[in-house]
C-alpha cells in the first residue's frame, strides 16, 4: 500500500492506495467530497472535472499515483471564507442547474477559464466548455452565468 500527502481544498490529506491506477475521482469521493461526479470514466463528459493547480482536469482518468505534491480543488473548495466563488454565485443567480449532475464539472471548467482569461468572449466560453456535456439543456444559462461572472453580458 503506497501512501503520500495530497492537498485537497487547502487541506493536507494522507492518501493510501493499493492500486496506483486508481483514478483521483474515487479517492475524492471516499473522502466524502461527492460533488465531483462519475459520468463516463474516459474523460469525455467533464462531470468529474477538478482543478489541479489552476488547470481543469478530468479526475476519472487521473491516476492517483501521478499527483504527489499537487494541489487539488473541487467544487466544495471554491468558496472562500464562506462566500461562494463568483462563478458559483452567478450560477445561483442565473438558476443554471436542472438536474445539476454536470454543474460541478462545468463550474470547475469555467473557473479555470477565468483564471486564464479574465474577460473571455462568448466564443471563448463555448470553446472552453465544449468538453463538458449537459443533458438537461441548460447551456444558454451556463454561458450567461460565466459571462456575468466575468463582468460581461452574454
Amino acid at each position: 500500500m503506497a501512501s503520500y500527502t495530497l492537498t485537497i481544498n487547502g487541506v493536507p490529506r494522507q492518501v493510501a492506495f493499493a492500486d496506483p491506477d486508481q483514478p483521483l475521482l474515487y479517492v475524492l469521493r471516499s473522502f466524502g467530497l461527492t460533488a465531483t461526479k462519475y459520468g463516463c470514466g474516459v474523460g469525455q463528459c467533464g462531470a468529474c472535472m477538478v482543478l489541479i493547480g489552476r488547470q481543469a482536469v478530468p479526475s476519472c482518468i487521473t491516476p492517483i499515483s501521478s499527483l504527489k505534491g499537487k494541489s487539488i480543488t473541487t467544487l466544495e473548495g471554491l468558496a472562500k471564507n464562506g462566500k461562494p466563488h463568483p462563478v458559483q454565485a452567478a450560477f445561483i443567480k442565473e438558476q443554471v442547474p436542472q438536474c445539476g449532475y454536470c454543474t460541478s464539472g462545468i463550474i470547475i471548467s469555467a473557473v479555470a477559464l477565468l483564471a486564464e482569461k479574465r474577460k473571455p468572449t462568448e466564443a471563448d466560453v463555448r470553446t472552453a466548455l465544449d468538453r463538458n456535456l449537459c443533458r438537461c439543456g441548460t447551456h444558454v444559462r451556463v454561458i450567461r452565468a460565466v459571462m456575468a461572472a466575468a463582468g460581461r453580458r452574454a
Binding site: 483514478p23 461527492t34 462519475y38 463516463c40 465544449d130 438537461c136 444558454v140
Partner: protein, 742 residues
C-alpha cells in the same frame, strides 16, 4: 375513526459524519429514529384525504408530501408556491417530502408532463380544502365570523378585535381528517402574490456549492458497492464463471443468480476492478437485425393488430381542381436517455423487509413490481426517491434499483449499484424506432382535404404489457410488470381542419431493444412527420407555411402562438424554398406548431438556419418559441423547461441514433453516441404566454415536439432538400442535398 396521530412531521436529514454521508430518518423534529413501518403507520396515504398531502406541524411549519418528484424540473419551488398561495403561509415555512412510498400518496409516475397539471392541481385542491377548514376553526376559536378574518403567513386576525391565532395553535401536529373537497373555492388569481412569480428553486444553491446529495452520493453504514456484469450479447446465457479470476482483486466478491452476475466490494473502485477482472463464459445471444435493414423490417414485420386511432369526417371522393396530393415516409430512430450520470440506486433487503433508494420517476408504481420479484408483501417494500442524474422518462434507474435489491438480498448488507457509462448507453431502455407514412392532399387555397397517417410501433408501447427489468430477468425471478412506454401514438394527426383524417397504428410484436418512455414519448417523431408533411403540401401548393397553418386553425390560443412566433421572426410570407437554395451557405427559416396531445400546451416554434452545402453541416442560428401552458406557476422554471426541451430535442434531431451490431448496442460512449455541445447551441428566443384563468398544463415536454419539423422545414426552406430521416447528420444532409437519399 381513531384519534389523530401526532408527530407526522418527518424530515429527511442528511448527515455528514467523518467524511461519509449518512442518511437518517428522523421523526417529528424530535429525537427518535423512526422505522420505515412506524413512519408508514403515522401517515395517511389515501390521496382523497388532505392529510395525505399536507401537515401543519406543531411549530407551525407545513410539510408537503408529494408522490411526484423533482428531477430538476422545478416542482420543489412550484409546489411550495402553490401551497403557500392557497393555504396562506410563507414560502419559507414549507418543507417538501417527495416520492417516498411510506410517506407520500401515490399520485402516479412523474411523467407525461403532469407534475403541475395533475400533481400540482391535486395539491392545490388539498390546500384550498385545508384553508377552508382552518378559517372555520379560527372563527370558532376567536368567536367571530369567518368573513371577518384576515389570513397572512399562517396567522388569522379578526378585523374588528385584532385578536389572532396561528395555524400551529389550531391544528399543529394534528390531522385534518378531511376529504379533499373538489369544490373548495380556490383563490382568485387576481389576488395572487406568490404563484406566477419567478422565484428561485431551493435546490439550486446546494447544486452549485456541491452540497446537494444525489442518489449517487448516498451512503449507509456497512454499505457495499456492486457492479453488475451484463452479457456481451443480448439474451446470452451465463455458461460458466471462473471465480479464480477474482483473486487478482482482493476484497472483491462474486454474486451469481442464474444469469445475473455481480461483483461486490467495500469500495466502488474495487468493485469496478473486480468486474473488469472477472472471466465468464456466455452463450451466443438471441441476435439483433442488421441496422441498415431496420426500416424494411419494421414495415414487413407482420403486425399483431392494426388499430384505427382516428377516423374523422367522411372519405373524400372528389378533390378540387389543382389539389396537390403527396405521400411521404418519415423515420425516427431509437434513442437513449443518455443521462449524464449513469443509473444508480441502493437497497437494503433484510429478513422480510426491503428499502430501496432510487432516482426512479415512479417509486409508487414500482412497489408492486419490486415486492413481486423479491417475494415480499407490498407493504414490506419501501421505495424512497433520491434525485439522480437527470432522467427523461425511464432510463436505467429502475434496473439499477432492481440490481441493488437482488445483490443486497444475496449478501444481507446495504448495497449501492452504480452503472458504468457503457452499461447506461448500452442497456438503458430506449425510445423506440418510429416509422410513419403520411398521404394527403391540399386544395389550391391551402385547405387540407384528406389525410392518412400510418405508424409502425412496437406493441409494448401500446400500454398494456411491460418493460422487463434486466436484473430480475437474468436472475430468473418473477418478471415484473413495468410501465408502458408512454402514449407514443399521440399527435399523429394534424391539428388542422380537414375533410377526412385517418390514423392507423400497425402494432408490431417485435422491437430490437426494450422500449421505454423518452421525454414526450413518441410525439417528437409524430409531430416531426405531421408538421413536415403539412410543409411539403404547402410547398407543393406554392403557399406560405404560416398562412396554411393559420387557415386550418380555429382555436384562438393556437392562432396566437403561431402569430406570436411569426412576429418574433418578422416572418415575410412566401412559399418555401426561399431564394437562397443554390447558395454555398444557404439560409432559411421554418415553422412548426403543436397542440400537445390535442388538449394541453400550445407551442409554435420557428428556426433560422444556415446550411453549408459542401459539408452538409446545419448551423442553427436562432430558435424562436411561443409557449402557452395556461396558468404559469413559476415563469422561470417554465422557461428553463422550454430551453431544455428545445436543446435536448435539437440534440436528438441533429445527432442521436442508437447503433447496434448483430449482438449488442455499440454506441456506448459519448464519441459513438454524441450529444449537443456548447458550440452547437443556438440563440433561444422564448415568449411565455401566461393565462392565469386557464388550468395549468405541462411545460416539460410540449416544446420538444415542434423541434424536428421546425428544423426540417427550415432546412427545406434554405436548400429545397427535405430531411425525412432523423438524425440530420452532415453525411445525411449532404447525401440528401445530392439527391442520393431521402
Amino acid at each position: 375513526m381513531g384519534a389523530p396521530v401526532k408527530g407526522v412531521q418527518l424530515s429527511r436529514r442528511a448527515v455528514v459524519k467523518g467524511g461519509a454521508l449518512t442518511v437518517a430518518f428522523m421523526l417529528g423534529g424530535a429525537r427518535g429514529k423512526a422505522s420505515a413501518q412506524g413512519a408508514a403507520r403515522a401517515r395517511v396515504l389515501d390521496p382523497q384525504q388532505v392529510d395525505a398531502f399536507l401537515s401543519v406541524n406543531a411549530d407551525g411549519t407545513v410539510t408537503i408530501f408529494s408522490g411526484k418528484v423533482d428531477l430538476g424540473q422545478g416542482l420543489r419551488i412550484a409546489y411550495r408556491q402553490i401551497v403557500a398561495e392557497e393555504l396562506g403561509v410563507g414560502l419559507d415555512m414549507i418543507n417538501l417530502i417527495e416520492g417516498d412510498t411510506a410517506l407520500t400518496p401515490n399520485q402516479g409516475r412523474t411523467s407525461g408532463s403532469n407534475g403541475i397539471q395533475r400533481g400540482g392541481v391535486q395539491l392545490r385542491q388539498a390546500a384550498a380544502t385545508a384553508r377552508n377548514a382552518l378559517f372555520h376553526l379560527a372563527a370558532e376559536k376567536l368567536e367571530v365570523k369567518a368573513e371577518e378574518l384576515d389570513l397572512a403567513d399562517g396567522v388569522f386576525t379578526a378585523r374588528g378585535s385584532g385578536k389572532s391565532i396561528a395555524f400551529a395553535k389550531l391544528i399543529g401536529g394534528r390531522r385534518f381528517d378531511l376529504k379533499v373537497d373538489p369544490k373548495a373555492p380556490l383563490k382568485d388569481p387576481a389576488n395572487y402574490s406568490i404563484v406566477g412569480k419567478p422565484l428561485p428553486r431551493p435546490d439550486v444553491p446546494a447544486k452549485c456549492l456541491g452540497r446537494h446529495i444525489y442518489m449517487h452520493d448516498f451512503h449507509l453504514p456497512g454499505m457495499l458497492h456492486a457492479r453488475v456484469i451484463r452479457p456481451p450479447a443480448l439474451g446470452a446465457k451465463l455458461e460458466s464463471v471462473d471465480e479464480s479470476s477474482l483473486k487478482a482483486v482482493p476484497g472483491a466478491r462474486l454474486v451469481r443468480l442464474k444469469d445475473f452476475l455481480a461483483v461486490v466490494a467495500a469500495d466502488e473502485w474495487t468493485a469496478i476492478r473486480g468486474a473488469r477482472a472477472l472471466q465468464a463464459q456466455w452463450s451466443a445471444g438471441t441476435g439483433l437485425p442488421a441496422q441498415d435493414k431496420l426500416i424494411e423490417l419494421l414495415r414487413s414485420d407482420p403486425s399483431i393488430s392494426d388499430e384505427t386511432l382516428e377516423n374523422k369526417g367522411a372519405p373524400v371522393t372528389t378533390k378540387p381542381d389543382g389539389a396537390k396530393s403527396l405521400k411521404a415516409s418519415y423515420f425516427w430512430p431509437m434513442q437513449s436517455h443518455a443521462s449524464l450520470g449513469p443509473s444508480c440506486a441502493a437497497a437494503y433487503v433484510r429478513g422480510d423487509t426491503a428499502t430501496i433508494w432510487t432516482a426512479s420517476q415512479g417509486t409508487h408504481g414500482n412497489q408492486t413490481s419490486f415486492a413481486r420479484f423479491l417475494g415480499l408483501p407490498k407493504d414490506k417494500v419501501r421505495l424512497i426517491y433520491f434525485e439522480g442524474s437527470g432522467c427523461y422518462g425511464m432510463n436505467g434507474h429502475e434496473d439499477a434499483a432492481a440490481d441493488a435489491a437482488i445483490v443486497s438480498r444475496a449478501v444481507g448488507r446495504p448495497v449501492r449499484v452504480q452503472w458504468s457509462r457503457e452499461d447506461e448507453l448500452g442497456w438503458d431502455p430506449k425510445g423506440p424506432p418510429q416509422l410513419i407514412d403520411i398521404a394527403g392532399s391540399m386544395a389550391p387555397d391551402g385547405r387540407l382535404i384528406d389525410w392518412k397517417t400510418e405508424m409502425w410501433l412496437p406493441e409494448r408501447t401500446k400500454g398494456l404489457p411491460y418493460i422487463p427489468l434486466l436484473g430480475p430477468q437474468a436472475a430468473g425471478l418473477d418478471d415484473v410488470a413495468g410501465i408502458n412506454a408512454g402514449l407514443i401514438w399521440q399527435n399523429g394527426d394534424p391539428p388542422y381542419a380537414a375533410e377526412h383524417i385517418e390514423v392507423i397504428a400497425h402494432w408490431l410484436k417485435w422491437t430490437p431493444l426494450r422500449p421505454a418512455p423518452l421525454r414526450s414519448p413518441g410525439k417528437p417523431a409524430n409531430c416531426y412527420a405531421v408538421e413536415s408533411f403539412v410543409d411539403e403540401l404547402a410547398a407543393a401548393a406554392g403557399l406560405d407555411p404560416v398562412e396554411v397553418r393559420l387557415r386550418g386553425l380555429k382555436d384562438p390560443r393556437a392562432i396566437e402562438v403561431l402569430k406570436r412566433v411569426a412576429a418574433m421572426m418578422q416572418w415575410q410570407p412566401r412559399p418555401s424554398p426561399g431564394p437562397d437554395k443554390t447558395a454555398a451557405v444557404a439560409r432559411g427559416r421554418g415553422i412548426a406548431f403543436t397542440h400537445y396531445k390535442h388538449s394541453e400546451t400550445y407551442v409554435a416554434m420557428g428556426m433560422e438556419v444556415a446550411v453549408e452545402r459542401a459539408s452538409g453541416k446545419i448551423k442553427i442560428e436562432t430558435v424562436y418559441c411561443a409557449h402557452d401552458c395556461g396558468q404559469i406557476i413559476n415563469p422561470d422554471t417554465v422557461r428553463a423547461q422550454v430551453e431544455g426541451c428545445i436543446l435536448q430535442t435539437l440534440s436528438r434531431v441533429l445527432m442521436e441514433e442508437v447503433k447496434f451490431d448483430r449482438d449488442r448496442v455499440t454506441s456506448v460512449d459519448w464519441a459513438s453516441y454524441p450529444i449537443l455541445r456548447f458550440s452547437d447551441v443556438p440563440r433561444l428566443e422564448i415568449e411565455l404566454i401566461d393565462r392565469p384563468k386557464e388550468k395549468p398544463v405541462g411545460a416539460g415536454e410540449a416544446a420538444c415536439t415542434a423541434v424536428g419539423a421546425a428544423l426540417a422545414n427550415a432546412v427545406f426552406d434554405a436548400t429545397g432538400a427535405r430531411l425525412r430521416t432523423v438524425p440530420f447528420t452532415p453525411e445525411r444532409v449532404k447525401a440528401t442535398l445530392e439527391g442520393q437519399a431521402s
